[in-house]
């Protein structure tokens, strides 16, 4: 996605940076977790005391309970009273623990789901909105969707499944270690001999599975892409009766995911038990070395070996979390890489510092030796021309000659590779981007309507527009009548769960959308193409009024529109090959006159057939 690939270290540093941003939340979660641990231990201790108290009451030889914190029940209390009190203590502490547990669980989700994930998604979305079209040309929509949905959760995983877990792991392991060392130093060392090996294996496992996880993401993307295309292109699939083949294609991609996962499964199924085995191996060392020490009489049995064994088992349980953490880390790194790739993609088209915000442009447009390429052959070559305010420029040429591209340079959807485009004498790159685009009204070849009401779609560029403004624009675009005939008029929902519109209707909404903005520049990319003869006639007036007083660029093939242009630029293979008015060009031998003569407009001899 971006040229510079991030190293693992860089990703981890950045993830830690994110964690640092949420440090107080993290700290709170950790503290709560410690309190929970403490309360858990306290409940066990109290229960144990209860048993000891019972035993000392019944069995004369039994040791007296070891009361903590120097507290001792008053001598006059019956054993039943003492035990009931302890049970009450257990009850109260458990209640407290439940409360703390509630706070703890909620805090974790508040931290990661309500803050981290929301912020990240917002950041990526915001970034996506600003990225240049090249980014969307180069990346399939499903990949982008996966990054905002799945991969963000991966980044979250780093915080609550990796970082917080690691801190707790280190903490509890530290306590167990301190305890063990206090019992017997050489034995502790011997029992921990395998730890470096575990660390080594964990690192090796990481290196091994991370590329696999990334490959998995790619394959999932490919599968989702196939699904998405089949949903969006369902008409084509059905029209060619290709359901069977598409099913096979999807199944192949689906199986690709499955087959590749197999490798990851094998790695996990090898790694996790190995770590587990190594930590249990410590118990064998304990039995041998510790057993020998006991037999030699150098280490007590109960307070020594038995206690040590219990500690070591706890230690082993904690260490086996290591494999889960390692696995989560790998998943979160692959995800984070993909998230950061989006966040790091440079915004190719952006404001320069101190960019000039043009409130209302006069509409003088000038191309100076403009070249453009997508990295291969130039799409535009050496384009130069000047347009005075209010002029109407038609762009004419065969498919692929660069007409749409030339137009998309004006709102700066792309920047020229060489040369410059000027508006009112300012290089576009020195103008504030949003202000520039607000001056430009656009009707695209294919009108994209959002799932919203008709009115909201017309007011798309100016959400605060009143209903009167919306209606005026709709009338001007000859759309008012058909809108009024819709089930809910201007409030009719389009898209999902809403009504469908014909191509002509959609295009008229798009024209209304552009007119509403009262732009000083109007770009029309073949606006009448989708309209039938009758409607075209109706809309001709509307277009005429829309274009009046505005510098207009239009890609057109209808003579009716070409005739009314002040200047026609004839493009061929990215070059301007002819310029002039319709009349002048018709008289001039060249591609334009040729195209006019052979076109099928006129009633010819065939008519009277």
């Amino acid at each position: 996605m971006t040229p510079a690939a991030l190293s693992d270290g860089a990703i981890i540093r950045r993830l830690l940076g994110i964690a640092w941003h949420y440090r107080w939340g993290c700290l709170k979660v950790l503290l709560l977790q410690l309190v929970l641990l403490g309360l858990g231990v306290a409940v066990v201790v109290l229960t144990g005391l209860g048993i000891d108290a019972l035993r000392s009451a019944v069995q004369p030889g039994a040791p007296a309970p070891r009361w903590p914190l120097g507290w001792q029940p008053p001598g006059g209390w019956s054993p039943m009273g003492v035990i009931s009190l302890l049970a009450l203590g257990v009850f109260l502490l458990s209640l407290l623990r439940a409360g703390v547990d509630y706070t703890y669980r909620l805090s974790v989700d508040r931290l990661v789901q309500a803050r981290l994930v929301v912020h990240l998604r917002g950041d990526i979305y915001e970034k996506l909105q600003r990225l240049a079209f090249r980014f969307f040309d180069a990346n399939a929509s499903s990949t982008i969707i996966n990054r905002v949905t799945g991969d963000v959760q991966g980044v979250r995983m780093f915080l609550d499944q990796v970082l917080l877990q690691t801190v707790m792991l280190v903490f509890s392991v530290g306590i167990y270690l301190a305890y063990m060392f206090s019992l017997h130093v050489p034995l502790t060392l011997a029992c921990l001999a395998s730890t470096p090996l575990m660390a080594y294996l964990a690192i090796r496992f990481s290196r091994q599975v991370q590329p696999a996880y990334q490959e998995n993401r790619r394959r999932v993307d490919a599968m989702v892409q196939c699904l998405s295309e089949n949903v969006k292109g369902v008409e084509v699939v059905k029209a060619f009766a290709r359901e069977g083949d598409e099913r096979a294609r999807f199944e192949a991609l689906n199986n690709d995911v499955f087959d590749q996962k197999e490798g990851i499964f094998r790695s996990i199924a090898r790694f996790t038990p190995t770590i587990s085995f190594l930590s249990q191996l410590n118990l064998v060392v304990l039995l041998l070395y510790g057993g020998w020490l006991v037999i030699e009489g150098r280490f007590p049995l109960g307070a020594g070996l038995v206690a040590f064994a219990a500690l070591l088992q706890q230690f082993a349980t904690q260490i086996s979390n290591l494999s889960t953490i390692t696995n989560s880390l790998q998943e979160s790194l692959s995800s984070a890489r993909r998230v950061f790739e989006v966040l790091d993609t440079p915004v190719a088209v952006q404001n320069r510092p101190g960019a000039l915000a043009l409130a209302r442009a006069r509409g003088e447009v000038r191309f100076e030796e403009v070249w453009f390429d997508h990295g291969v052959d130039p799409v535009l070559r050496d384009i130069s021309f000047t347009v005075r305010p209010g002029q109407r420029i038609a762009i004419f040429g065969p498919t692929g000659s660069g007409k749409s591209l030339l137009m998309s340079l004006i709102p700066r959807f792309y920047d020229p590779t060489a040369g410059r485009v000027l508006l009112d004498g300012h290089d576009l790159r020195e103008l504030d981007l949003d202000a520039l685009r607000r001056n430009v009204g656009m009707v695209f070849q294919e009108s994209f309507l959002f799932s919203a009401s008709v009115a909201a779609n017309i007011a798309f560029g100016h959400p605060e527009a009143t209903r009167e403004q919306v209606e005026r624009a709709a009338r001007a675009a000859a759309a008012h009548d058909f809108i009024s005939a819709l089930p809910d008029g201007y409030d009719t929902l389009l898209g999902e769960g809403g009504v469908g519109l014909s191509g002509g209707q959609r295009q008229r909404l798009a024209i209304a959308r552009a007119i509403l903005l009262e732009p000083s520049l109007l770009l029309l990319d073949d606006p009448t193409a989708a309209l039938d003869a009758g409607t075209e006639h109706e809309i001709a007036e509307a277009l005429e009024s829309a274009m009046r007083g505005r510098t207009t660029f239009l890609v057109a093939h209808r003579v009716s529109l070409l005739r009314r242009a002040d200047l026609i630029l004839v493009l061929d293979e990215g070059r301007i090959v002819q310029t002039g008015t319709h009349e002048a060009l018709c008289r001039q031998p060249g591609p334009y006159a040729e195209a006019m003569q052979t076109s099928h407009w006129a009633p010819s001899a065939e008519v009277a057939r």
Binding site: A239, R270, G461, S599
Partner: protein
Amino acid sequence: MSQKPRTAEAEPGQLPPLEFLRLFRRVFSYTARYPGVRARLFVVVVLRAAQLSIVTWALAAVINGPITHGDWPGTLLGALGFLAFILFTQVTFGFRIYYALRLGEGAIRDLRRDTFAHLQQMTAGFFQQMKAGRLINRMTSDVEAIRAGVQDVLFICIVNGGQMVFTGIILAFTDWVLFLVALAIAPVLWWVNLKYRTLASDGQRRTSESFSRVTASLAESIDGIRVTQGFVRQEVNAAQFQGLVSDHSRNVIYNSRINATFLPLLEFSAQVFIALLLVVGSWRVLHGGASVGTIIQFLFMASVFFDPFRVLGTQYSLLVTSLVGAERVFRLLDRAPDWTDAPEATGIDKIRGHVEFRDVTFGYTPRQRVLNGVSFTAEPGQMVALVGHTGSGKSSIINLLTKAYLPDCGEVFIDGREIRSIRSDALRAQLGLVQQQNFLFSGTIMDNIRFARPEASDLEVIKATKALNFLDLIEALPNGFQTLVGEGGSGLSVGQRQVVCFTRALMARPRILILDEATSAIDTVTERRLQQALELLLAGRTSFVVAHRLSTIQRADQILVLAKGQIVERGTHAELLVRRGVYAGLHERFLTNTAAERDPA
């Protein structure tokens, strides 16, 4: 006309309670396709449940036995035995992990496959109603949620449930009075389960639904990015998206509040029972004459008995998540297509091209009629032009002809056979459809042309391109036939896309050709090329053409003039002109425009 649009999805609040058992059984049935893996997983899980307790026991045995007795060779032997046993345990563990992951992945692979296959059976109306992003969400997060259910929940529950039952039996034998006290937790559990299930299902449903909205909105904004940037709507969109994301996060927190209440509550009730057992047990020792050893043993075992609570609680919440995902996926799977081919429908031999509409009435919604009593006949090889204003029903006729929809009343005949008796795929395989906006798939130009007939060789593709005289246009692309296009054909101009689509249509060797505004959005130069190609495409084939180019219409053998869903005029160009009706009016207006254009003087 006032019909409210159908909502594609029911709101979570309107749904009946989650049918746990039915959903669970259905999810579980997906593991039945892997009987080997599943059986082995069961064995390994049971084995492992036993091993876990034996490890602790074995360790204690070595310490209490040889080490306590100072028996060094015995210690050595015991340690080695222990080593062998943990090796065995961990190998089992490895298989346990592997089988569970395999089973889960296999089940969701099959679910995805079934869902995809099901989607393909859905009719055009369904896709009109459903945002693409929602369907994608169904196949990703919802299916993903099911995975955990298959991989872990059941098997972890077996181990822990087994532990509870086993300990429960020991408890009953140790002291049945105390055991009855412990059993009193059952109604508490029942109540918690009931409460929790209702709340958590509801919460999880909301969460899944709001996430589906996030995905759908995201998908749409990516598709509409050009419009968004062109109209400087970035901030407004970002705010709307942020609204959806926050809404989703509120649902997540709501859900997490439910879990944060119930899971600690579960642990708490276990602790309460331990405290209760302590008091009752002590009373029995002090006043009832029970032995202290029994009570101590009972209390220790009781903690083992209650221990799986925490695990089971967590698994329970995973199960709810998983089943809600399953519910959403199954609801999609169970949504029957609006119609399917009748079981007695059969294929059709090479179509001659006789098409008849007999008194056809049709509407996309029951209350909005688009076609009203339409009848016409097209003879083999004829070209039929459909003329009329936007919304007059031209596209609907085509939708019925391609069997994308079925007529509400009346019949459509192809070669004398009613269209309902012909299998959709067999029919469509002989139809060639080129629309104004055609979808292209990501891949090369070659792949896209070949889409119509996958078995065609490169040479055949090139031949078809040559036949339509498009070779130079395609070779002019950066990598010729190997040029990559993006989803929906991004990277190509509309004209270039149509060139590919025409070739694609020819590749299909259609018997009936349908051009729905196919040359509308194209520049004159390319259009001229397409017109020439048309001659070739149309030759010897019945064709239906929706166009607004007079030149195309004039050539038609039959022109049907539509208005408000009815055929108001029909005949050839010449006949209709003589009649001085609607068509003549259209033509006149067109001529006025054109004459002015042709004659700039």
